[in-house]
């Protein structure tokens, strides 16, 4: 009850005209920052933090929440429109969002992403409100063994994503894993795979560099080649009728979206994991449980809704370890943590007891920001879709510039821009030869988490490999992972057997 009255107080502040104005400004700014490949909520929060020392603290928190949410929504925009994931959290959104845009359904995909983000944000904020304290204990019970098991699970939900050629899928997974080890070996403290001792490789190969390279530049090169001189015009338009139809279509995705929200929140809450594995797992599970799983990757609206609910839910979830344990789960939460220290707050177990008005003020801001974000986002969809109607040669030039500038921005190293160029050309050639790129990117994101937690566990357990199955939580995850790994084969076997039984009758048509 006390929680409710604190929340009500929070709402009273966040709904004042000045604060509403701030929310809308923040959400809009966040949307554009998030939509820019290479930039994400971390950049938005970084510029706003210094401002928070000037405006009243309650407004500052609201502004931060608005930017945070706006950027999460915005990540999907570039994934869908340009096929470049704006942040690693939005990589799964490209898998179906981009094909939808290419089919002329960019508007529908954007609506799906916005609504899904809203649902994910709402469910997760409610979960946060109700269970923040007990959930912190779950986060604590996650050691390296559990982390490894979870990442393994995230991986196996993806088996079979690569399409037909399994040799090439394996190559891409291994290439991603090998590239993910570039940099410093955390365990021994030694540099490795820093080709020719280039300092640029000391910090490893960042996900964004690979994604902007392969999905951004690589895609541009591919389109230039396939489009010939006559530019392919995407038939992108959006009308109010379509908007309404899109909203209706979302109504049928409740199962996907609620699954995605819960999954996203719980995975996002674990300090090591965060929103990217959450979005990937949500996509993988949606694909495996969907009735229309064969159209995943070819523009299935469920494939947009699933990762988008999960990554938004996870970004709320990742606030939980930051507030209750003082551990930042992402660069953005790390910045927020720094800001809180500046405001004289001590994140950690005592925060909820000593500073309840801050905590609940933040949470009510999240509610408000979420509403504002979905409204602003839907209002801006026509603008985004209109951008797609630019002549191809204009769009192409601008995307190249975005790739260069956006690739430089996060690390501010020319080295990364050259890497983007190399990945662009390499990705284009790999794509020509029918190598799937998604497993490559996926492996690069999950690889470091997986290797680190695997080796940490083995060190802590004196090389005892059974440690992974001796702990109940990790054993459960590994069991689930095996189940997910085996399921496609079992399903294939059963349908195969069924088909054999009905040989004379008509074969089910595969669309």
């Amino acid at each position: 009850m006390e929680v409710l009255s604190l929340l009500a107080d929070g709402f009273a502040t966040s709904l004042s005209p000045f604060n509403l104005f701030i929310v809308i400004i923040g959400v809009t700014a966040g949307l554009f920052i998030g939509a820019m490949p290479g930039l994400g909520s971390v950049n938005g929060v970084a510029i706003v933090l210094p401002l928070t020392f000037i405006v009243p603290p309650s407004s500052a928190i609201i502004l931060l929440a608005a930017i945070y949410y706006g950027a999460m929504y915005g990540g999907a925009v570039s994934s869908i429109l340009l096929g470049i994931p704006g942040a690693s959290t939005a990589v799964a959104t490209t898998f179906d969002g981009r094909p939808m845009a290419q089919k002329g359904q960019a508007g529908l995909a954007l609506i799906a992403a916005a609504v899904a983000s809203f649902v994910g944000g709402t469910i997760s904020v409610v979960l946060f409100t109700l269970f923040a304290a007990p959930l912190a204990d779950i986060a604590l019970s996650f050691g390296p063994a559990e982390e490894f098991a979870l990442v393994l699970l995230a991986f196996t939900t993806f088996v079979g994503l690569g399409g037909d050629d399994s040799l090439k899928t394996i190559i891409m997974i291994c290439l991603g894993l090998a590239l993910s080890t570039v940099g410093l070996d955390l365990i021994s403290g030694q540099p490795r795979l820093i080709f020719g001792d280039m300092p640029g490789f000391y910090s490893g190969i960042s996900f964004l560099v690979l994604a902007i390279g392969t999905y951004g530049l690589g895609e541009i090169l591919y389109t230039i080649e396939t489009s010939k001189t006559a530019p392919k015009v995407t038939n992108a338009r959006i009308t109010f009728a379509e908007l309404g139809a899109g909203l209706k279509r979302m109504n049928s995705l409740w199962k996907t979206m609620s699954l995605g929200s819960f999954l996203g929140f719980f995975v996002g809450m674990l300090p090591a994991a965060g929103a990217t594995p959450a979005a990937l797992m949500s996509y993988g599970i949606a694909k495996q449980t969907s009735k229309t799983s064969d159209t995943f990757g070819k523009g299935n609206i469920e494939g947009v809704a699933a990762p988008e609910t999960a990554n938004n839910a996870a970004s709320t979830g990742s606030l939980l370890p930051m507030l209750t344990l003082g551990i930042p789960g992402s660069p953005t939460t790390a910045l927020l943590l720094g800001g809180m220290v500046m405001w004289g707050l001590v994140p950690g177990p005592m925060l909820f007891i000593e500073q309840p008005d801050f905590v609940w003020g933040l949470i009510s801001s999240l509610y408000t920001a979420n509403f504002a974000a979905v409204a602003v986002n839907i209002a801006l969809i026509p603008v985004f879709v209109w951008a797609l109607r630019m002549p191809f040669t204009v769009l192409c030039a601008l995307v190249v510039v975005l790739c260069i500038v956006g690739g430089f921005a996060p690390s501010q190293k020319m080295h990364d821009v050259w890497l983007i160029f190399a990945f662009g050309v390499g990705g284009y050639l790999l794509r020509k030869a029918d190598y799937p790129l998604a497993p490559l990117v996926l492996a690069l994101v999950l690889g470091p988490l997986m290797e680190k937690s695997f080796r940490q566990t083995l060190i802590a357990e004196q090389g005892n490999i059974l440690a992974f199955v001796e702990r109940p939580l990790s054993a459960t995850f590994i069991g689930l992972a095996i189940l997910f790994f085996v399921m496609p084969f079992v399903v294939a076997f059963i349908t195969g057997a069924k088909e054999r039984l009905h040989v004379p009758s008509k074969r089910p048509k595969i669309n």
Partner: protein, 323 residues
């Protein structure tokens, strides 16, 4: 808002034009940065070193200590090797400063990265961070003797969490091992905050960590400090003995300083040193330092360079004795 912006653009356009036309810029008597100053951080985002560097940045901004913004850039790759190499390439640049920690000397000692820290320009040492041995509050260990006995009983399987081989806490762990003839299983994690969480979750048995990382859990009664590796007891933990008073001479500091590239113009060095001295005097910083058990001991110029070189030879000895 809009008017202001258009005006700014107009003024900007005019002044650029003026500059292009060759109008000489007025040379001010005292040097000021002409463009935003890059603050290189020798660690990745989210760690203790990153947080403190960003705290400095926000105080500088809040108190208007610099006319140009200070822009933090993380170059944490290779235990700071990336940052050191970057600073080396910035020779003579007046708009780059770097926030350091002890990897400033240990990284060039451990791997040959072609950097001699003697060439860099020292600016100011803001503080020295302290190290304390922590265990989970549920454990029976109350004293250093209990601890040594427990580690011995575990027969090498005692899990000591840390931030990586060669990092500051691993050096203290090695010193403990040498002093007491004990064996730990050293489990590296990414960042002190993660170590703290794993200690509370009972995934590791102990850790040597900065008080700043453990403070939240300590206040919640989840972790227990056993011994401090400082010459004197820390004000925030008056009941925690130092290793020295228990007869074991283990003292270790983590310095938090700022340095600049080789051959930074003298005016610029003076400007930044002055800015950092003002920063050190702000109440925000003083309050943070005392709350987090940091020793805010200001050191600048040649004295700081001597300190660095001294520490470097000390670390060379420590590393030689453990590797």
């Amino acid at each position: 808002m809009y008017n202001k912006l258009t005006k700014k653009i107009a003024v900007a356009a005019i002044s650029t034009a003026a500059l292009l036309a060759g109008a000489a810029q007025a040379v001010a008597g005292d040097w000021k940065p002409q463009k935003p100053v890059e603050l290189v951080i020798m660690a990745g985002q989210g760690g203790g070193a990153d947080r403190i560097a960003r705290l400095f940045q926000s105080i500088i901004q809040k108190e208007n200590l610099s006319n140009m913004p200070i822009l933090p850039v993380n170059k944490g790759g290779g235990s700071g090797a990336e940052a050191l190499r970057y600073l080396k390439d910035k020779e003579g640049d007046a708009h780059v400063i770097m926030a350091t920690l002890n990897s400033y000397y240990t990284t060039p000692l451990r791997t040959d990265i072609g950097v001699d820290i003697e060439e860099f320009t020292p600016l100011a040492r803001m503080a020295m961070d302290t190290f304390v041995l922590w265990v989970n509050a549920d454990s029976d260990i109350q004293t250093l003797d209990d601890y040594v006995a427990a580690v011995k009983a575990a027969g090498g399987s005692w899990k000591m969490g840390g931030t990586g081989t060669g990092q500051e806490d691993s050096l203290v762990t090695a010193m403990l091992e040498k002093e007491f003839g004990i064996q730990h299983t050293y489990v590296p994690f990414k960042g002190g905050g993660t170590v703290a969480k794993n200690l509370v979750g009972n995934h590791i048995n102990a850790t040597v960590n900065n008080p700043a990382e453990q403070m939240g859990f300590w206040q919640a009664g989840k972790v227990r400090p056993i011994v401090a590796f400082t010459p004197e007891r820390l004000a925030v933990f008056p009941d925690v003995p130092t290793a020295r008073e228990l007869g074991h001479d283990i003292v270790y500091w983590m310095q938090r300083s700022f340095v600049a590239p080789k051959d930074m113009p003298a005016d610029a060095v003076a400007y930044y040193t002055d800015m950092l001295e003002q920063l050190g005097a702000t109440p925000e910083w003083q309050e943070y330092a005392s709350g987090k058990a940091l020793v805010a001991d200001m050191l600048t110029g040649d004295a700081l360079q001597n300190y660095f070189l001294n520490e470097r030879s000390k670390h060379a000895e420590i590393l030689a004795s453990i590797e």
